[in-house]
């Protein structure tokens, strides 16, 4: 019995201090990198989610009936910019991500067809901009409206 205990003790010499320090340093570096990457990944994912929500709001606004081609006469006399607040993401009582939607109705313009006829149109741009702790962001989409006689 004594002999067996002695053998186990002799084979279990353990790591040297240098080995432990090197291993610990590498492990700390790796883990901190991964944690940083996870945090950054989450930030990017959150930013992308806000952009998706913002795009949906922009598309929804552009599809509104007031920008239908039947409203052309009204639109062409409504040149200017309007602004309103929108909620991009609902997170809680005071943590909603809020943004600003800007709708710009441009001046009537002309495109000429291949057979030389001028056709008028009105450009409409919708921009949503917002701020988070990670910085500012915005998206802009444009469509044009012509009048079908």
């Amino acid at each position: 019995m004594k002999t067996k205990v002695r053998t186990i003790t002799c084979n279990n010499k353990g790591f040297t201090l240098v080995e432990l320090l090197v291993a610990s340093t590498i492990a700390i570096l790796c883990i901190s990198s991964i944690v940083t990457m996870l945090i950054r990944s989450r930030e990017i994912e959150t930013g992308d989610r806000y952009r998706r929500y913002a795009r949906a709001l922009v598309i929804s606004e552009l599809e509104d009936s007031k920008y239908h081609h039947t409203q052309y006469t009204t639109l062409k006399t409504s040149v200017g910019t309007t602004t309103k607040n929108v909620i991009i993401d609902t997170r809680g009582n005071y943590d909603d991500i809020q943004g600003t939607m800007t709708v710009s109705i441009g001046a009537e313009d002309v495109r000429t067809s291949s057979d030389g006829v001028d056709f008028n149109f009105v450009p409409i741009s919708v921009t949503i901009s917002w701020s988070t702790t990670d910085g500012n962001d915005s998206i802009t989409l444009t469509k044009t409206i012509t009048r079908i006689i």
């Binding site: 080995e19 991964i34 950054r40 952009r51 922009v58 067809s113 057979d115 056709f119 469509k143």
Partner: protein, 378 residues
């Protein structure tokens, strides 16, 4: 061999752990990069979608323009006018608008091209298809046509035919009756016991004729907008049918009893049977009188005058009593006339026209936003 007994195991172990962690980290990086790429592509899709939609409006406006419409009107089916707005760009994306002539009206194709913003040489495409239809484009000229159709034509009693008789089977008359044909007679089969008056010709073993098809969907749309639509079998009895645009569409069989007056035409999915007194007035030039999409047309009661083509595209036409037709009798199968009938067509030539109606005044865009095609869809 027990590795833990070897010197340097800690280093090997650390490298192994580091490798695993590196692979995990690279996977995460890949996920994040893909996410960023997908977001960028989604944004590009939205830009292209709106650009294509804008181009569609340009195309529709172009088609409705009087001068453009005249160009479209004379195009043959399938011909394309490409890129009618060469300088068109929306959202910074080039848009190509093409006009494609169809049987009735046109298709408008608006395609937005763009490269994504990540430097990949891949094209995002959104195509918007619109459809401008002209429901009267398919309607026969009411004063043209012929007697006959896809199979046999049989005429058993007296009659005056100021038109041609032609069919893909046999033309059969009865020589003991006074059947006057002031046009030509031609049959893919034989011509028996009937002959044209002086100046007319008989042709046997003639080339097969193409029995014209009507655009029943257009008639349904017309009936649905300003006409009358019945969603099942209908017995009309002692009634005046007076739709605003002259089109009555019945999704089933039609039986006419008693005294019925029709101002326009009846288009039925199945059979049309006239058992009573029937008065019909053509209210729109070039409009047909009676159309059966899948069934037969039987005129059993003694009648008056019907103005416009009578067509049973898939079935038979039977006329049993006296009628006067200002138009053709055209069946996909047999035409059988059993009593005195007069067809008053000034021109004996067997012609029909698909150019009836005014193309430009009747263009509608009611279904034009149903055809958006996603990237990769064309």
């Amino acid at each position: 061999m027990n590795l833990s007994k070897q010197n340097g195991f800690a280093l090997v172990g650390a490298i192994a752990v580091c490798s695993i962690l590196t692979i995990v980290a690279m996977g995460l990086v890949n996920v994040v990069v893909n996410e960023v790429e997908n977001e960028a592509k989604s944004f590009e899709n939205d830009r292209a979608f709106l650009a294509a939609e804008s181009g569609l409006l340009f195309g529709a406006t172009w088609v409705k323009d009087p001068s453009s419409c005249q160009q479209v009107k004379v195009m043959s089916k399938g011909s394309i006018i490409e890129n009618i707005f060469p300088d068109l760009a929306v959202n910074g994306i080039t848009v190509q608008v093409d006009i494609i002539k169809q049987d009735s009206g046109v298709d408008i194709r608006s395609t937005a091209f763009c490269n994504d913003e990540l430097g990949y040489n891949k094209t995002q495409v959104w195509s918007a298809y619109g459809s401008a239809s002209n429901p009267y484009d398919h309607i026969f000229n009411g004063n043209c046509g012929f007697v006959g159709g896809g199979e046999n034509t049989q005429i058993y009693y007296d009659g005056i035919y100021n038109t041609d008789i032609k069919c893909n089977g046999n033309v059969q008359g009865k020589k003991e009756y006074d059947i006057k044909v002031y046009g030509n007679i031609s049959a893919h089969g034989n011509v028996q016991e009937i002959a044209p008056e002086e100046g007319g010709t008989i042709e046997e073993n003639a080339a097969e004729i193409e029995v014209p098809e009507f655009d029943y969907d257009s008639y349904f749309k017309e009936a649905n907008s300003d006409g009358i639509v019945y969603n099942g079998d209908m017995d009309f009895e002692n009634i005046t049918l007076d739709p605003d645009n002259g089109v009555v569409y019945v999704k089933g069989n039609v039986v006419i009893k008693g005294n019925v007056t029709l101002n326009g035409c009846i288009v039925a999915r199945d059979n049309i049977k006239i058992e009573g007194s029937f008065t019909q007035n053509q209210v729109v030039d070039n409009m047909p009188a009676l159309l059966s999409k899948n069934g037969n047309i039987d005129l059993l009661h003694q009648g008056g005058t019907i103005t416009g083509v009578i067509s049973s595209r898939q079935g038979n036409i039977m006329v049993k009593e006296r009628w006067t037709f200002q138009g053709g009798l055209i069946a996909g199968e047999n035409v059988q006339i059993e009593n005195y009938v007069e067809l008053n067509i000034q021109d004996g030539s067997p012609i029909w026209s698909f150019d009836g109606g005014d193309f430009c005044d009747n263009i509608t865009f009611e279904r034009w936003r149903e055809f958006m095609v996603a990237p990769g869809g064309i």
